[in-house]
């Protein structure tokens, strides 16, 4: 927890406000719940809620803009046990198919059924309404090893 909090203040200070990449960590002012948002080199995000133990998986804004119009999303089956790095689904645009990898280990608890009928949600709201699935983390420490918003932005800029 402490390191998460430290990370919070550090990234808050160093992050200029930019619409394209939301802040790395958002603390929601209800009780002690903390949502930690991290990024992967595979252009995914995981938002870990330490109260529920669930991590919400999305693709990044950058990924959706590179893919173009998403027309089909394949999601994992509920209760699937996944290891970090496993392929758990795919996002397809007209021009390309792109695999989704589990950014964290755990069990798939929810999938965004809306994407079956409205794959375009991934373009409109990739990091919010277009979430892919929620994973019950088996090893929350994995989240901290992922990239902060700043680190993710740095690899795009480089």
């Amino acid at each position: 927890m402490f390191s998460v909090l430290r990370q919070t203040s550090r990234s808050r200070l160093s992050l200029p406000r930019r619409a394209a990449v939301p802040a790395g960590i958002q603390s929601i002012p209800i009780f002690r719940t903390l949502i930690t948002k991290r990024f992967t080199a595979d252009h995914e995000t995981v938002s870990y809620d330490d109260k529920t133990g669930l991590g919400t998986i999305t693709i990044t804004e950058y990924a959706q803009s590179s893919l173009g119009d998403v027309v089909f999303v394949e999601l994992p089956a509920l209760e699937t046990k996944v290891e970090q790095g496993d392929q758990i689904g795919a996002v397809e645009s007209v021009k390309a198919a792109s695999d989704i990898y589990a950014p964290v280990s755990g069990i798939v608890k929810e999938v965004n059924e809306k994407l079956n009928d409205q794959p375009g949600l991934l373009n409109k709201s990739p990091e919010e309404d277009g979430w892919l699935c929620k994973i019950q983390l088996s090893n929350p420490a994995e989240v901290e090893d992922l990239m902060t918003a700043k680190a993710y932005r740095d690899i795009q800029d480089s």
Partner: protein, 414 residues
């Protein structure tokens, strides 16, 4: 997210490279055939594209527009199907072949019947290697018995030009050229644009006094378009009515400007690929290669009837063998349930046990909202209506062999 596995265009591969950055996990730039940006060529319209907000990507050795501004691939695709779009195809290789024996020469290099072709008409053809494999597909336009205009693929430029040089030397040194030699001129730097879509004739008619109703699909003419005398061929690579217009280097940008006003939209490589696949047209490198004969590729119709008997063209032996015995595999169309199947997806028999073929191009079709694909399957599984299984992400999906074109062409035939 980065593993964009099955891309039919080098252009799309570039998207992956842009997404991937140093330290990124899964970077696999699969089969990237395009040289680095320093070596990439530009068409005469490069500045025009940039001015119009194009996303430029490497394709077949050129920097070409993938898309323009915020217009997505689906919107761009639909605009061509419903209205009209303008494509820069100036990367393609335009050539003139001239000389007293040129018809015979081109009937040696290709299996087409060119002596019976009318002046100012065109045919799809293939350039074959000694085994009957396809070196390139090409559109040949006859202007006269001693003059032909030939368009070949940019991605095959080096291979084609070396092959032409080789065969011309052999021809011109032989007895067959005793009535006169054949000369080959590459129209380097010339522009080539394609105006495609149901509104294209109406749009072009406003710029010329030539009655376009008289210009049928597959025919061409020199037209005066706002004072420019241009070679215009009716046809294209989308299945829609349209025109391919060849432009001298000095006027390419000016003509492109004339041809891209409302309601015409500039259209990039992304939409070009989905339009051609819906129209059942081959992309060299995906659906055709040197290991494939025109019989396997479903292009038997480009071979002149009498030429199947005479067999006096390069590669005839292999072609005639496939004609007589039947080809071992055939190009077919597929409609796949569930997920889109992309290039490289394996095709199995209905039991899912026997491997019977491979997908060569596949997309979710914007027009049909179905997953369509071109594939090669073993003869015996090639009949329409046959059910097969296609492996997408290690899961077998049901697919049905479906006749091509997937979308009905709307060519102008009077």
């Amino acid at each position: 997210m980065t593993a964009l596995r099955t891309l039919s265009l080098a252009a799309a591969r570039q998207v992956q490279l842009r997404v991937s950055a140093p330290n990124c996990g899964r970077l696999w730039a699969r089969g990237l055939a395009t040289p680095s940006s320093e070596e990439l060529k530009k068409t005469g319209l490069y500045d025009f594209h940039v001015e119009n907000g194009a996303k430029m990507v490497p394709f077949a050795g050129y920097l070409m527009p993938l898309s323009y501004g915020d217009v997505g691939q689906v919107a761009s695709h639909n605009h061509v199907r419903n209205t009209a779009g303008l494509f820069d195809v100036g990367h393609m290789v335009q050539s003139n072949f001239r000389g007293p024996t040129v018809t015979a020469f081109l009937e040696w290099v290709t299996p087409s019947s060119l002596s019976s072709l009318s002046p100012y008409s065109s045919t799809l053809s293939v350039i074959l290697n000694d085994k009957g494999g396809i070196i390139d597909d090409t559109v040949i336009t006859k202007h006269a018995d001693d003059a032909f205009y030939v368009v070949t693929n940019a991605g095959r430029r080096d291979r084609d030009l070396a092959h032409f040089k080789d065969k011309l030397e052999e021809w011109n040194a032989s007895d067959r050229a005793k009535d006169g030699k054949v000369e080959h001129e590459v129209l380097d730097g010339w522009g080539l644009v394609a105006l495609q879509g149901p509104e294209s004739a109406k749009y072009l008619q406003a710029l010329t006094s030539f009655d376009l109703k008289e210009l049928m699909f597959g025919n061409s003419a020199f037209l005066s378009i706002e004072g420019f005398n241009l070679h215009v061929a009716r046809g294209g690579y989308t299945g829609e009515d349209g025109f391919e217009i060849s432009i001298p280097p000095a006027h390419t940008t000016e003509v492109a400007r004339l041809l891209s006003k409302q309601p015409v939209q500039l259209t990039g490589l992304g939409a070009r690929d989905s339009l051609r696949l819906e129209a059942g047209m081959c992309l060299y490198g995906n659906d055709l290669d040197e290991e494939t004969t025109p019989i396997e590729a479903g292009l038997t119709w480009v071979i002149g009837k009498e030429r199947r008997e005479t067999g006096d063209f390069i590669g005839a032996e292999g072609v005639i063998k496939h004609l007589k015995d039947g080809p071992p595999r055939r190009r077919v169309g597929l409609v796949i349930d569930g997920a889109p199947a992309r290039q490289g997806a394996k095709i199995f028999d209905p039991s899912g046990k026997e491997l019977i073929g491979t997908v060569t191009s596949g997309i979710p079709s914007p027009t049909l909202s179905k997953n369509i694909a071109m594939a090669y399957v073993q003869t015996g599984f090639h009949k329409k209506g046959t059910e097969v299984q296609v492996d997408v992400r290690n899961k077998l999906r049901k697919a049905v062999l479906t006749p091509m074109p997937f979308v009905k062409p709307r060519y102008w035939r009077g």
